[in-house]
Symmetry: C2
Subunit: 328 residues, 2 copies
């Protein structure tokens, strides 16, 4: 019997999950829930209906796992806690600093409901986190480095948009080849923020805006830009739409570590992603985690988990025998 999946929220991530379900024959999209008027939302899958979020509890026995596709800032901190009482859930909560708090809240709710919640799935947190963990466990005497990009950072783009006189903006985070190569050399360099990433901004300004001031405000913005080399381009609304609507992203997790009685040997573990679509890749990770959530639940477990707690085999549709025979 297939795994019956519900999608809560039909934006880029929700649509990505719908596409990923199509690629996984052991899964079936059961229903999509939205805060909008359901009549205004059309999904891609035949014979799947869109419901108002208010109707979701009627589906308690018809959905094996609910995919929470809201944002980390305001949606997930309440949504995941709310729905983990009634459904096995998967989310992509990605505010790293608040993960311990989110975990506690979701864990309490899921335990109360006897459900399984897997939080912070995706690629960072997610696949990148796994690679940091595996590499650190194998090479305890080492140092790891995470690089992001090239890709658009939503947070940095938003920060630029809040500046007076800015109509729209996109900010690319670009890993510096010199830093990547220094890390790959095994020299375990200490790298400043500026040495690791470059920030390139494409900004649409109001007609009579003071571009010099805007550029200055961007480049000196604390936390976001002040610690980086930042390039600012002013372009037209049309060019922004035409050239900078991409959703590609990616990055690198590299660990360099020593082994040997006198630490005489060096090793480099490198994991990298080059993604045409950030939301679709994230969704694909979430769908693999959905399979694990259902399996945990079928085994009688409850509470909150992360990808750190999932035996890798639980993510796969293949049996343990098939995995050992074909992939080990």
């Amino acid at each position: 019997m297939s795994i019956r999946v519900g999608i809560m929220g039909y934006g880029n991530l929700g649509r990505g999950i719908e596409c990923a379900i199509k690629q996984n024959p052991d899964m079936e999209l059961k229903a999509v829930f939205t805060r909008r008027d359901p009549k205004t939302v059309t999904v891609l899958t035949d014979n799947v209906a869109v419901y108002s979020v208010g109707d979701i509890l009627k589906f308690k026995d018809e959905i094996d796992v609910l995919m929470l596709c809201g944002g980390s800032a305001t949606d997930l901190p309440t949504q995941t806690v709310e729905y983990a009482q009634y459904f096995n859930v998967v989310d992509s909560f990605d505010t790293h600093a608040k993960i311990p708090e989110h975990f506690e809240n979701v864990n309490n709710a899921a335990k109360k409901g006897g459900k399984v919640a897997i939080i912070s799935c995706g690629w960072d947190p997610g696949m990148f986190s796994l690679n940091r963990l595996y590499a650190a466990a194998v090479l305890p005497n080492g140092k790891d480095y995470t690089f992001w990009g090239k890709g658009v950072s939503q947070g940095h783009s938003d920060a630029i948009r809040r500046i007076e006189g800015v109509l729209d903006a996109k900010q690319y985070t670009i890993p510096l080849e010199s830093a990547l190569n220094a890390v790959r050399s095994g020299s375990n360099p200490e790298l400043t923020a500026r040495q690791k990433h470059l920030r390139e901004c494409f900004v649409v300004a109001e007609e009579n805006a003071d571009k010099q001031r805007i550029e200055q405000e961007i480049k000196t913005m604390p936390n976001y830009f002040a610690d980086y080399d930042t390039i600012v381009h002013f372009i037209s609304k049309e060019e922004l739409l035409r050239e900078h609507s991409g959703i590609a992203h990616g990055g690198f997790v590299i660990r360099s570590g020593k082994t040997g009685w006198n630490n005489e040997n060096n090793h480099i573990i490198e994991y990298s992603l080059k993604l045409d679509s950030n939301p679709e890749f994230t969704s694909s990770v979430l769908v693999a985690c959905a399979r694990a959530a259902v399996r945990f639940s079928n085994e009688g477990e409850s509470g909150c988990k992360t990808m750190f707690d999932i035996p890798p085999a639980y993510l796969s549709a293949l049996t343990a025998e098939q995995l050992r025979k074909n992939l080990l």
Copy 2:
């Protein structure tokens, strides 16, 4: 209390495990067992004794996990089965085709003894297998490619040594940059063995040996060389020792896969290792797996497992809270 580790077999792998234990403060080397005369074996760690393999059962209650450091051809198929009855064990069994059979045999023994056995740990099988599994689970509509090298293949070196007139030999497996780049482009190429790897051989021949015949025998050897482009160099015994005693290795696991309603987006997941010491890196993976074996055992589990069955957190000395806070 630290995890008390025993080492069975003190070659490159056993020594590597001893070095790895030194880097893991939650572990302690308890004893080394050898088939040689224990008096002839000296270990690096202070106050650790070497015992004859015949004495091992006396340590049933003093060792939490026994690391089996024999070879896959003849040692492990019997050793792991034998000792899994009495100890939690970890091995690096790497004959891919025989893993299912080895798993069954070890599973029966470990279940009988109420112990946990983790087999086929290392990097391939091991970290590479994990990356094949994760990438396939996340991108089911894709194709994966494993490249090895540059590094010495023991099996291919041995095959050359069996040729008449050959005194010694080392064979390097070298991944072809053209193939790596074709895979990274996302074109999902069909690659022949010849297109993926080059084989370079350094051969010490007997004084009056017919080098042309030896070269011909190497290049046409079925399974090992016939399907590859092979370069053969004849060198002196001294040069082989001086220039080709390295134990570096590494490789790449790359998966390229599509997402999107019409498979319109491509993604590349790449994992690579660049290892100064193949046996020390392998040992480091085994030691992380030892931690998981003890944890499974403490939870009351028994039977055979592989890295596919280990929740990543079990490999780490950090607590679940620390992992979520620092690595997720």
